[in-house]
């Protein structure tokens, strides 16, 4: 079943035309990677889905429902979560408060905290610490935990390995692998081996357009098919 579908999405920042007719789809239970060089519109695609930067043309449907025109919180209420590129944890809130604020109304907050701490035990040790004082890796774990406890059917994950030490990247990959067992993921990732390892399918974006797509089983990280779009 198709969970998410973008059709002819045209998105602008002011007069700057960033997405030029992006069309892609994500099936329920899949992990789909969105790859491409810096500045080709990967993050803007995620922002267009969330209606943070609403498309001027085209459609974004989730479980068959049009998202264009909804508020971002309404998109989130429908089960679309976001783990942003620059973590964007609430630095003045404690670790526990960052997790709590991510739990939808009416859900079991204590169970969500337990889940977050089981996934990333270091967060349990620092539950009362101000989140802004965590290391970069710990902040990324908190950002992931915040996305995971939201009980989302679709998680939009933006550059989860960016700027992290290799050991932390491995932890993050494990957490995403676990999440993928229960959640559909649309993953933006510059680390191609990681993206191909996690994803079932991929889309390549170039200059605001989808220029290639396929199964990750068909390609490798040094495949000429990908390299021509990914090398600077």
């Amino acid at each position: 079943m198709t969970l998410l579908e973008l059709h002819g999405v045209e998105t602008y920042y002011g007069e700057s035309h960033v997405l030029e007719g992006v069309t892609l789809s994500v099936e329920e239970g899949e992990v789909v990677a969105l790859v491409g060089r810096n500045g080709v519109g990967k993050t803007t695609t995620l922002r267009s889905i969330l209606q943070l930067t609403p498309p001027r043309e085209g459609s974004v449907t989730y479980r068959g429902e049009e998202l264009v025109g909804l508020g971002t919180h309404e998109v989130a209420d429908r089960g679309v979560g976001w783990i942003p590129e620059d973590r964007r944890i609430f630095s003045q809130l404690s670790v526990a408060e960052n997790v709590r604020v991510s739990v939808p109304d009416g859900r079991d907050t204590e169970a969500a905290l337990t889940m977050a701490y089981d996934t990333f035990p270091v967060l349990d040790e620092r539950r009362d610490q101000e989140a802004g004082t965590l290391s970069g890796g710990q902040q990324q774990m908190l950002s992931l935990a915040r996305g995971l406890v939201g009980e989302n059917a679709l998680l939009l994950v933006d550059e989860p390995s960016e700027g992290l030490a290799p050991q932390i990247v491995a932890d993050v990959a494990d957490a995403l692998n676990d999440a993928a067992k229960e959640t559909t993921l649309l993953l933006v990732e510059q680390n191609l081996p990681l993206a191909l390892d996690l994803a079932d399918r991929f889309y390549v974006l170039d200059k605001g357009r989808v220029v290639d797509d396929g199964d990750t089983a068909e390609v490798s990280a040094d495949d000429e098919r990908l390299r021509r779009f990914l090398s600077a």
Binding site: D77, S91, L93, V101, G150
Partner: protein, 347 residues
């Protein structure tokens, strides 16, 4: 003929002697305690008039120039409620009960007005540069002040001396001084401190112990991220604006009873200026900073008032100048204030 050098030395010696005498007096337990109590009372007033302003700026990035007008309307409304309700009731506890009833009425009315202002006017301007919000709220100040002026003149509530009837609704224990050992405390000052503490505790508990408070703190830091987590930040904006307006009104209700302030149209400007001083010293947008800023300004005001009344010369504007000197010093040394961050405002 007197040698000018000798004259200068004599003047310096006299000033030094005066200062030493003043310092000895100031550090006497009775005077020091009295200054601390007066300082806390002033701090309580400042924290109440500045809290709403800082909550609104912290979450929404809106500098609400109409904040003082809301305080002024709160003062008049509380006065009307007290004059109408108290009537012949003479028991001081009855008057206290009516006052708390007036507080509830003022809070609800001003919160409603604030909510209408946010939804009807300010919401349209979030995507515009801040100057639009400043011009709008400044314009609102003029409209609200003139509206109140027309109403109070129509009903004969002005001149101010006539309006002071509302002051007569004060319970007797607030109008007199009370002895606590060597310390003499004004009843109204003690009440202001208690109400200020209760307001700070209530806001603090709301922000840190409720789910909505958590949404407000998250939205203050990053409104876009909060929205992406499913929080309806627009609704939170409306609630915070209403809350800020309600608190401004409650501050006005308290000022209505204070003969230094009273209920008058100029109260709008008279409260807006110190509110801005407090939030700038504390750090724009942080409640903790506002409490600290109010303490600094209140204590500085009380201390300099004592010095100018008892040691130097009695010029009422001099303590005010000392407060503004602290503001200038803060802007030079730490422009973001005691607890402020370099950039605030959720959108």
């Amino acid at each position: 003929m007197t040698d000018p050098t000798v004259l200068t030395e004599l003047t310096a010696l006299a000033l030094q002697a005066g200062f030493v005498d003043g310092l000895t007096d100031f550090l006497g337990p009775s005077n020091l305690a009295s200054v601390v109590v007066e300082g806390l009372a002033k701090s309580a007033i400042y924290v109440m008039i500045a809290s709403g302003l800082t909550l609104i700026f912290g979450l929404m990035g809106v500098l609400n120039f109409a904040h003082g007008s809301l305080t002024m309307i709160g003062a008049y409304l509380a006065g009307v409620v007290m004059v109408v309700l108290v009537g012949n009731a003479t028991g001081q506890w009855t008057r206290m009960a009516f006052f708390f009833g007036a507080l509830v009425v003022v809070f609800i009315a001003l919160a409603f007005l604030g909510g209408v202002m946010e939804i009807g006017l300010i919401r349209e301007l979030y995507t515009r540069p801040p100057i639009y919000q400043i011009l709008l709220t400044f314009g609102l100040t003029l409209v609200l002040e003139e509206t109140v002026r027309i109403v109070v003149q129509f009903y004969g509530l002005q001149p101010i001396s006539e309006w002071q009837g509302a002051l007569g609704t004060k319970p007797a224990f607030m109008a007199t001084e009370h002895s606590l050992g060597p310390l003499s405390v004004r009843g109204l000052a003690a009440f202001e401190i208690l109400l200020g503490l209760a307001t700070v505790a209530a806001i603090w508990a709301f922000l840190t112990r409720t789910r909505y408070g958590l949404y407000i703190r998250a939205g203050s830091e990053d409104a876009e991220m909060a929205e992406a987590l499913g929080i309806d930040v627009r609704r939170v904006f409306t609630v915070v604006f209403a809350l800020g307006a309600g608190i401004a009104g409650v501050a006005g209700a308290l000022l209505m009873w204070d003969p230094v302030w009273g209920a008058s149209v100029p109260l709008a400007a008279e409260t807006l200026l110190p509110a801005f001083v407090v939030v700038i010293i504390g750090g724009l947008g942080t409640f903790r900073g506002t409490v600290a800023g109010a303490l600094v300004v209140g204590m500085a005001d009380a201390t300099t008032t004592w010095w100018f009344q008892n040691v130097f010369i009695t010029w009422t504007w001099l303590p005010e100048m000392a407060v503004f000197l602290i503001l200038v010093g803060m802007l030079v040394v730490k422009p973001q204030g005691l607890y402020g961050v370099e950039e605030v405002g959720g959108h």
